[in-house]
Symmetry: C2
Subunit: 246 residues, 2 copies
């Protein structure tokens, strides 16, 4: 059976307190939601709905932030926000800051983003995107009676390769990884190392119908069979002790 | 319009000289191929079709390969193959070898793989997967009159995150990256840094219908609008000089 990836257009600019599920269910695609669908939400609308938007005029950069900003020709207030959201700086070079956030995500600028928001503001990542995903999933169950999975997706760069891809930062109702270890291949040989990060692949798939300049903050993925056990995005985070690049 | 991802099952074990396009067109899904479809082929069937399969009993490991194999508790013949395919070792630790291949790909074991092949053999990556993709695309045009794009996909790990995802190693008939630099967002602000590696995202999407133990070496992606300019996988390879992790 073929997999379907369906864009959901929502033109409203999201503000704190908006009910994302009501907005979803006002759309024709949203009303067509089916049992077992996977909904992928962009980080941006979750951050906006949760009030994770910062007025830069209220940020007072420290001397450290000002120093880095000066060396990197960046806004010291943005650097201050990055430092606030960072557990550990992984790389800082060529005007790029790669940090490990308090959540354990490794990404540029600790996920601070000034795109798709009015001038003078920036968005932070959701505080706990697994919980955000869980709330949305439960709200869908309450409103429609349907069991779905919810993933929250953000666009990250990566080492070695040009271009960014979408990645899961919050997961609920679906196992993030399929582990093939111990399973047998077509030649009856034990597969030893393959574990697939399907939550990340689902986010990348959803990005394809979204684009960056369209108002398509949600995608519905249909006809994907998935496991519901231990749903969390945390299993996608490699521990520093196991990482060859930290 | 919703994106469709359609699995193509081919149960034959591919050998050198097999006509992959004939095998595709023998399937019902293959016969339904449409103008503008994107076909994603797994690296494994391309390597097999191109004879990139090595009989391990014919490999004579050097002292270096034997030494590494001894330290890592691995087969010295596999280590020898990895060294032969490697331009530069990026990391060698915890029994894991991350190398930059002669193609410029950064991946574990230089892409040498013993899964889904009979015991005593291993597959190497295609010599030039862009050319492999181009040949398949042209053959489809000749046989069906249809213009499609072809991507060759492999399953790679990545730093910072657990689980593997599918990644493009060969591309023909589609631009690998969509560059949004200079475009405007919904607030009329110039998007400064976003370039999306859609070829990688298409591979990840195709992996979702494939699984690792099923005989589904091809996926068809339908209803994706794409640009055809400068189609190559090379633009996905970050230059070492720009890479913060090499």
């Amino acid at each position: 059976m073929s997999l379907q990836i369906i864009p959901v257009r929502i033109s409203k600019d999201i503000v704190p307190g908006d009910d994302l599920i009501e907005l979803l269910l006002e759309t024709r695609t949203g009303r067509g939601l089916k049992e077992g669908d996977i909904l992928v939400f962009t980080q941006k609308i979750i951050s906006k709905q949760e009030g994770r938007k910062v007025n830069l005029s209220k940020i007072k950069p420290t001397l450290l932030a000002t120093g880095i900003a000066n060396a990197f020709a960046k806004d010291p207030r943005i650097i201050q926000l990055i430092l606030d959201e960072t557990k550990r700086i992984i790389r800082m070079k060529n005007g790029i800051i790669i940090s490990e956030t308090h959540h354990g995500l490794v990404c540029a600028n600790a996920g601070i983003d000034e795109s798709n928001i009015e001038s003078g503001f920036a968005t932070l990542l959701p505080k706990d995107a697994d919980t955000s995903a869980q709330k949305l999933r439960r709200r869908i169950k309450t409103r429609t009676g349907k069991n779905v999975a919810v993933i929250i997706s953000d666009t990250f760069g990566r080492p070695f390769r040009e271009g960014q891809t979408d990645t899961a930062i919050g997961v609920s109702g679906i196992s993030s990884i399929i582990d093939y270890v111990g399973k047998r291949d077509n030649f009856n040989r034990i597969l030893r190392v393959t574990a697939i990060a399907i939550a990340d692949e689902l986010c990348s798939a959803s990005e394809l119908v979204r684009g960056k300049t369209l108002r398509t903050p949600i995608a519905i993925i249909r006809n994907y069979q998935f496991d519901k056990k231990n749903s969390t995005s945390k299993v996608l985070l490699r521990a520093k002790s196991l990482d060859l690049f930290r």
